[in-house]
């Protein structure tokens, strides 16, 4: 539980997770760091959209936050 107006990153940290993503190249575990939108370490998939900066998004009830597992998948066959 976090106060209203807290970021999704804060919610993840408050819930006791010590990693929010795996880095794209080597798969290292990372957690939110700067909490102000400049380090890009807090990337998570939020409500189905990958690579969101979770520290810049206000958490809402029902928000789906998933770990960002390496780089985002793209489908080159999309028209």
């Amino acid at each position: 539980m976090v106060p209203a107006g807290a970021s999704a990153a804060a919610a993840v940290l408050a819930a006791g997770f010590d990693s929010i993503r795996k880095t794209p190249v080597e798969g290292c575990e990372r957690a939110p760091y700067c909490m102000m939108g400049v380090c890009f370490d807090c990337l998570a998939e939020i409500d189905g959209v990958a690579n969101r900066q979770s520290c810049m998004i206000e958490v809402r009830p029902g928000m789906r936050i998933s770990r960002q597992m390496r780089a985002r998948m793209m489908d080159p066959k999309v028209e």
Partner: protein
């Protein structure tokens, strides 16, 4: 070619490796040192910096747009001008584009870089949204799947552009020992510069085939 580093990745590694390599080979890397004065004689160059003077038997002018003014002091000509380009950078995606295209390149880390705009804007490096829109629109025309990628950063910068777009390589005839290299881009041509140009400088003479790329070609009356 999967996972081949694009020039953006290589350039970043260069800026880290250059000072280290200089240091390991008995050189000195002096950042933020503007040349204030210079004296030139064949095989004898004295360069004034804010922190003191450097003397050397050879000098290579590789200062990009700064070469235009510096060149004259060393009996050289480097008529380069700035050409503005803008770049859009996407979030990291899994490898989809294993080979670089002129305007769309994916780095080893997954970032996709979009660009190749050209503006004659002097030394102004501000971004123009209309240019960014055109870059994005053209990229999506090529690959519709790019549409869903988020742009994480964008910037504008200046290319070092000779009058005909081709490199300028010279050794000063008035002050032998002073060399210059000018091009867009030094990143693309890094291999040629390291493996061909640098040994020529070390040997004290540029190969005759580089005559075609001398600044003399811009003197139409002399070249005719």
């Amino acid at each position: 070619m999967t996972g081949m580093p694009t020039r953006s990745t290589c350039f970043m590694r260069c800026t880290r490796v250059l000072p280290k390599t200089a240091d390991e080979n008995g050189g000195r890397y002096l950042p933020n040192s503007t040349v204030t004065e210079a004296g030139a004689a064949p095989g004898d160059f004295r360069i004034q910096l804010a922190g003191g003077e450097i003397g050397a038997p050879k000098v290579v002018l590789a200062a990009g747009l700064g070469n235009a003014a510096l060149a004259r002091r060393f009996g050289l000509s480097a008529p380069v001008k700035p050409l503005k380009g803008q770049i859009l950078v996407t979030e990291r995606a899994r490898q989809v584009l294993p080979m670089p295209i002129t305007t769309i390149r994916q780095t080893v880390e997954g970032t996709i870089m979009l660009g190749d705009s050209q503006e004659d804007a002097g030394f102004d490096t501000s971004q123009r949204p209309a240019v960014m829109q055109t870059i994005a629109r053209r990229a999506v025309l090529s690959f519709p799947w790019l549409r869903d990628l988020q742009i994480v950063r964008a910037w504008a910068a200046l290319r070092v552009m000779p009058p005909d777009g081709l490199p300028i390589y010279d050794q000063s005839e008035r002050f032998p020992g002073a060399f210059t290299a000018n091009c867009h881009s030094g990143v693309t041509l890094a291999g040629a510069h390291a493996n061909l140009f640098a040994p020529m400088v070390a040997a004290g003479a540029l190969d005759p085939e580089l005559e075609l790329l001398s600044a003399k070609r811009f003197d139409v009356s002399a070249a005719a």
